[in-house]
């Protein structure tokens, strides 16, 4: 128990205002340019969560945002770490502002908030942990993309269905190691030819 606690206290941002500003710039650039893969780091989360996902959560989460931990990443260590560093409450999927986990554990997507017609921003942001990220696979087009981009998405139909909901829908970050990419609801996804 004592050891668990001491792990929870470590691994936060060293210089929070500066580290968070760098992490946010990476996250914002990724969200503004779907398919672009950026480096995001600064946090050292407990085992089971990538540096990118940990840095993203420390940058964006606080007592005002409810986090859903999917079964594959949920652990007392991670809960302790997130609680100490962000103060964010944990919530079931349907109430979460941020959800974190592997793709299999996060699906089905219809359990998350997609916003309302008048407030489409009141939707969940999913942080999907990936084995790796690369600019290959499905073809992306839409806002933020000059012509087309490619990103190694874990699925096709779910993202096509999500884009159909626009302006409602979910927004995704994909994390692997210290890399991050994003797929907002505004991006249309096509199978590679």
């Amino acid at each position: 128990m004592t050891q668990t606690q001491s792990i929870s206290f470590a691994g936060g941002f060293y210089d929070a205002p500066v580290a968070a500003s760098h992490a946010f710039r990476a996250a914002m650039t990724a969200m503004a340019r779907p398919g672009d893969i950026k480096v995001i780091e600064g946090a050292q989360p407990p085992k089971g969560l990538s540096v990118a996902a940990g840095s993203l959560l420390l940058t964006l989460c606080d007592p005002e945002t409810a986090i859903f931990l999917a079964s594959d990443v949920d652990s007392p260590e991670l809960r302790g770490w997130l609680t100490f560093h962000t103060g964010a409450p944990f919530a079931p999927a349907e109430k979460a502002d941020f959800a974190i986990g592997g793709w299999e554990a996060l699906t089905p997507l219809d359990q998350f908030k997609i916003g309302t017609a008048e407030y489409p921003d009141r939707s969940a942001t999913l942080v999907v942990e990936m084995p790796e990220l690369s600019n290959a696979g499905p073809i992306l087009s839409g806002p933020g993309i000059k012509e087309t981009a490619r990103l190694s998405l874990p699925s096709l139909t779910e993202f096509q269905g999500n884009a159909q909901l626009f302006p409602l829908g979910l927004d995704f970050f994909f994390t692997s190691g210290s890399q991050v990419a994003a797929l907002p609801r505004s991006t249309s996804v096509m199978a590679e030819d």
């Binding site: 205002p17 500003s21 760098h22 964006l60 005002e64 008048e118 839409g142 806002p143 993309i145 907002p184």
Partner: protein
């Protein structure tokens, strides 16, 4: 600088603004409500833009601030000094050198790059506000994509003036969905909004943030028989001779004489530096 948190705002406020920016980017043109803070400057002086810039800046950034295109007006100078002092960032007057540009009512003439961010100060973010004062109603109109009223307004312009008389804050439709107020930029600047840089909009008093990602479709509203026209004064700049830049008209004496000068001071200066000479600058030389 050490007496302030980096870029003035506390971290929780920045997180709240950052979340709003991300949702704004995900739904281009949609106004995301945010808990705007009181800033050490009055409303109408760019409190929204300052909060967005504060949440966006990193210590390595080079900041440029313009007010109606000029780097040397009170508003621009004081915001630039504010961030020099609270964030310790480098500042510049050159568009080329800047990584973050905060602007009031203009888009720089120089083409912006992919690695640049343009932050707009917005007074009234709701394009339908002067047609429908109730927020509950305008929100419903956006949700139903009910923009007929805006077209009626433009039509009334034509029936009264023979042309669409709206010359600034000219409404645009973003990615075929949301009608958005581009902030009070002259309509001359509207076509530039389909750009490589990230565009962020902050309205402090009205507590709204919205965004346009790079290469997003931004169409100025018009009619087939009255197409949109990006207009400017029919003159060349009297200092640098530019015929392609947006001009300010300046009364120069009691006899009513006037001159036209580039509103973008950096553009004008760099052109003069490159040897371009306008009508009145020639007289000075002679």
């Amino acid at each position: 600088m050490s007496n302030y948190n980096f870029a003035y705002l506390d971290e929780q406020t920045k997180r709240m603004i950052r979340r709003a920016i991300l949702k704004g980017l995900a739904v281009p043109g949609y106004q995301v409500p945010f808990a705007s803070r009181e800033m050490p400057m009055p409303y109408g002086w760019g409190t929204g833009g300052v909060q967005v810039s504060a949440a966006t800046l990193t210590p390595e950034d080079t900041l440029k601030v313009i007010d109606q295109g000029a780097d040397d007006t009170t508003n621009a100078v004081s915001i630039r000094k504010f961030f020099e002092r609270t964030a310790g960032v480098e500042t510049t007057e050159e568009t080329e050198q800047a990584s973050v540009i905060q602007t009031r009512h203009r888009i720089p003439e120089a083409k912006l790059r992919e690695d640049q961010i343009l932050v707009y100060q917005v007074p009234i973010p709701e394009p339908l506000r002067f047609l429908e004062p109730r927020e509950t109603e305008t929100r419903k109109m956006h949700s139903l994509e009910e923009y007929g009223l805006m077209h009626v307004k433009l039509y009334e312009d034509i029936s009264q003036h023979g042309a669409i008389a709206t010359s600034y804050a000219y409404p645009v439709k973003v990615e075929d969905r949301y009608v958005m107020d581009p902030s009070p930029i002259p309509k001359f600047d509207n076509p530039k909004m389909e750009m490589a840089a990230i565009q962020l909009f902050g309205a402090g008093r009205e507590q709204r943030i919205y965004a346009v990602p790079p290469y997003t479709k931004v169409v100025s509203l018009d009619f087939e028989d009255y197409p949109f026209e990006a207009t400017k004064a029919e003159h060349a700049c009297d200092l640098c001779g530019a015929e392609d830049s947006y001009l300010d008209e300046v009364i120069v004496d009691d006899a009513g004489n006037r001159m036209f000068v580039c509103s973008d001071t950096d553009y004008c200066r760099s052109r003069r530096g490159a040897g371009h000479v306008g009508r009145l600058a020639q007289e000075e030389v002679a």
